[in-house]
């Protein structure tokens, strides 16, 4: 059983999207909420063993670890029909039960405390798989547990499993509404540093964009968490579709990620999905073609990351991978790519070969979709730096006023000084600079000249 992937769900947000993700996977593979195979799914040629393993009684158990510092969300999961799906040993709720109080530092330091117990679980899962390929981490970067504990676990994962891939699905906070978490900019900045240095691939899920899509595209006046989360789980399941439904190519995680990320630091990916539908909305079924899907994927309004248009820098795509599902004729793909190239719909980096890569994937046979073709775009775009710049700006605003730093000073890491914050800011600033540099043709020598001037 090659290329297994272990999912770690952290904090309130992480557990919620994780829950939706497993729900989605179960329905795609024909697995009941109890983990048993549905009668119609016994003949399947899909690969369930990437994300599931089988217990002695043949029922499927997700390779999933649920972690939280407060019991609320996990309890609600345990009260859902899917309670029996998870391995109870893999659910860890901090005994203190107080949560991290939306404080990164609190989450991080609690991580140190519960390290042994958490890594017992992770090690057990890792040993249980034949050739583990990597980890997928679901969390948000704004709160306390997902960001703080998540940061800590990211660092430790990198130490313990240096050859394994670590992919995260990171939820970025909504910028349009005023957050009740006042220290959000601190939390985000500190987490961003870990995401830059310890994660191999970060799929950015921007709550701003997700809300916008829900209201504008899906016409939901007041989108609920679960509606947003089902958008996210959809992205997560499609982006792993080629692993679960093997075909000619992209049958391992590395084969998906490696072409998207040319240089190790620039590993923040945007996503886009089309056609978007909700359960309520059935009437608006339109004709989908490969060209139509690919064109829509290139439109900013379908992107799940909201980035302001920056006129000063020529932002461009570093790489694009389109995962197209459905009844697709390879010739159509070829023609669509040609059309997109002719119309110059996508701008690419000037310093290397880049094009839209396409992965054709099968669809789950058990889920009926009204649309013939659907597509997910995973894109590495330099424009994402705007998101980090925004975080930096907000951080600078708070930091100037030295606001809300008391709660941080309570924790060990910050008792003596606030160097950690400064160091994180530098790392994120460098990341932004590198993204901007990647838009220029001399990106390859950019590092060298700067390095030589420094020395």
């Amino acid at each position: 059983m090659p290329c297994e992937i272990i999912t770690l769900q952290l904090g309130q947000c992480g557990n919620q999207i994780g829950f939706e993700f497993w729900k989605k996977l179960c329905s795609e593979h024909g697995i009941s909420p109890e983990g048993t195979l549905e009668d119609y799914a016994t003949e399947g040629t899909d690969r369930k063993d990437v994300f599931f393993y089988q217990a002695d009684d043949e029922h499927y158990i997700p390779r999933s670890v649920l972690l939280d510092l407060e019991p609320r969300v996990i309890h609600s999961i345990m009260n859902s029909p899917y309670a029996k799906l998870y391995n109870p040993e893999n659910i860890y709720i901090s005994k203190q039960g107080g949560g991290a109080g939306n404080n990164w530092a609190a989450g991080y330091s609690q991580g140190e405390r519960i390290y042994d117990e958490v890594f017992d679980i992770i090690d057990r899962e890792a040993d249980g798989s034949d050739s583990l390929e990597g980890f997928v981490l679901c969390h948000s970067i704004a709160g306390g547990t997902g960001s703080g504990l998540g940061s800590y676990i990211l660092e430790r994962l990198n130490d313990r499993f240096p050859k394994k891939l670590v992919q995260t699905y990171s939820v970025f906070p909504n910028q349009d509404e005023i957050s009740d978490v006042v220290v959000q900019p601190y939390n985000s900045l500190l987490t961003l540093r870990r995401l830059t240095q310890s994660a191999d691939c970060v799929v950015v899920l921007d709550n701003t964009a997700l809300n916008r899509i829900a209201t504008d595209r899906l016409h939901l006046s007041n989108p609920s968490f679960s509606q947003i989360n089902s958008l996210v789980s959809n992205i997560m399941s499609v982006s792993t579709a080629t692993l679960r439904y093997p075909s000619y190519m992209n049958n391992d995680l590395i084969g998906l990620i490696a072409p998207l990320i040319p240089t190790p630091r620039l590993h923040f990916l945007m996503t886009g999905y089309t056609p978007l539908t909700t359960d309520q909305e059935v009437a608006s079924v339109r004709k989908t073609t490969v060209l139509d899907v690919m064109r829509r994927l290139l439109q900013p309004k379908n992107m799940m990351v909201s980035t302001p248009l920056d006129r000063n820098t020529q932002h461009c795509y570093i790489s694009i991978l389109n995962i197209i599902q459905g009844e697709v004729d390879p010739t159509q793909v070829h023609k669509s790519l040609q059309r997109i190239r002719e119309r110059k719909m996508a701008q690419f980096i000037p310093w290397g070969p880049a094009s839209i890569q396409v992965a054709l994937s099968k669809k789950s046979p058990y889920i009926q979709s009204a649309h013939r073709v659907s597509g997910l775009m995973l894109a590495n775009h330099t424009n994402i730096s705007a998101l980090f710049e925004r975080t930096l700006k907000q951080y600078d605003k708070l930091r100037k006023r030295e606001a809300f730093l008391e709660q941080f000073r309570k924790e060990n890491m910050f008792t003596e000084n606030l160097d950690e914050l400064d160091a994180s800011r530098e790392v994120v600033q460098q990341l932004v600079d590198e993204y901007v540099a990647a838009t220029t043709p001399d990106y390859l020598s950019w590092g060298l000249t700067q390095a030589s001037t420094e020395s």
Binding site: P2, E43, S247, Y248, P264, P330, G447
Partner: protein, 713 residues
Amino acid sequence: MSEFKIHHHVSELFSLLGIQSDAAEKYTETLSESVQRFISTQVSASSAVRILAENAPNPQAFLSKYDELKSRNVRDLDPLVVFLSGLVEDESVRKVVEGSSKLRLQEDGVTLANVPSIVSDIERAAETKLSRDQLNELRDRLLRESQVMHTPSEALQSVERGEKRPLCLGPPIPSWLKNRPYLSLDFVKLENRQEIGALGDVSSTSQEHQLIEDVLSVMMGIEGRYITVQLPTKHYDSPEFTVDPSVEPSLSTLVSRILPLCGYYSQLIRFVENKSCYHHGLVNQALSAAITNLIKDYMLLVTQLEEQHQHWALTLHKLYFYVEKTMAVMDMLACVTRVISKSEAHGGAVLSILHDRTVSLTGCGQLQDVMVFLTQSAAVPYMNILAKWLYRGIINDPYNEFMVVDRESGSEENEDEDLADDYWEKRYTIIPQNIPTFLQVHANVILRTGKYLNVIRQSDHSVVCPHQEELVYSVRDRSYAEVIERTYNFASKRLLELLMKEKDLMGRLRSVKHYFLLDQGDFVVQLMSLCEDELSKNIDDVVPTRLESLLELALRTSAANSDFYKDDIECDLQPITLMTQMLRILSIETEDEREYYPQEERLQLTGLQGFSLGYRVTWPVSLVLDRKTIACYQMIFRHLFYCKHVEKLLCRVWVSNKVAKSFPLSASRTYTAAFALRQRMLNFIQNIEYYMMFEVIERNWQNFINKMQKFKI
């Protein structure tokens, strides 16, 4: 007809002709073009003959030769002529052939250098048409290639065998047939003829009476008193008659008008006698029997005439009037038999001649009826053989008359192995000269029908065509065509059912696609990571059994586990690289390719370079997935597999690079150029994989599936 095959044959031909030329490419081109032309246009032979005649040093001789061959009904004469005229017109080819044939003539010590060699070659080829002359071989090769998919050497062998066999067929001919010449009335010479006086001395009435008596006896094959007979030198020619010169000229003219009839009779009798021998085959015997029937009627006529004569009611004029109609029929019969004897036709060829004649007589009422009767009777044994072949797939053909020949009877045990490879192409082949012309259009259908039935039978299924009808020859309503069509439909349907339903051919092909075309991606990933250590060794150090068990493991642990046919997959290590293998197949040896030949490659070959999968197929699926096909799949597999391997290596580099993101900025930036290079390589390999897999393989697979679905049972 593949380009490579032509290429191969051209290079072989070149070496045969002893030409050291690098221009093989050019000739291949011209040839493949001309192959197209041969198929598309039925070039009229007459213009070709004219061209040849113009170029020949002795046009008259050439034309007469051509006519003679034509009269012998030689097959493929027209295509040959067209081909030769093409040769003559093509300067470059002519030069080469000229040069080489001169060389050859010198080598052979033949002093014919003054004869323009190309024409002499043509003449020689024409004269020795049925022998195995070297040019004939050339012609045979090229023409067969252009028409049927037989390999040329095979076609030649068939010609050889077809000629040699008849000599030793059937039971021996009893000696009394030769010892007793009186069994049929055909001018057996009386030893002692009485000397008689000249007939001219008596009155003209007596002369006429006597002549009528003589004519009547000559009509029955008995030499008359005043009409003498000289037997011909060749058995198929008519004897010559001499009338007593003293007879009145008016009578003698009348008699000489009737006399050809007697010649026809003699020819027919001799034909019947001759062809009744065993080795001439069933068709000839049936034809003889039919002619005997006709002769019986003829004899009846003679008897009736004689009766009238005895009542003194017959004059020569009357006699001529009575026999005139019969004469036309006999003339025609004699003519047909003559052609048959002359061309030594046999089996299907006889029927061809009969049929052609029948068709050419359309509108001639009675004459055609007679011909139809003859053809029908002669076709009975042939049609019986055909029916057996069509309904049961059995060839019962003791005299090699049938158009299909079984090359390999008796060794059915090893059909799973070597036989399957050649079975489809070589087991049953068509003998072109044995196809009756009226079955020409159905020839391939007939061949296939029986072939299908045989395949079904050899797969342990008894099969008999349900609606068996007797096959009868007819000119107009082509009832036999319908029957052939129906049985063909039945046989092909059964075979299709056998292959598709019972043997699940599509399932097999899908499984081949999973493994050889890497459709089952997770299996390949699994296999590659399992076998990596083993395959990175030198190919001589790889342990096949270990590889086999790793393959097994990969099959069981991937999604391939649900494939029903996964156990038929096996490992196959080949001691040459893919490049060398392909070069060997193409057998092109020009300067460009030569540099790709590695030196002593076996020493450096890793297991990975030689690794390939094998696939065990059983009869009758092995007909479709024969060794050649599997070899093609293997080549594709080796290429794709190696690409995958390279991709894997690049991905591994990526993983080892990821540590750089936690480096301080100044350190990590120095690597950027290297990362970009790696990315460029990865980009390339993934794009080429995508192209091969989705745009080439998957697209063609879809086409294939669509086509297969059209032919649903």
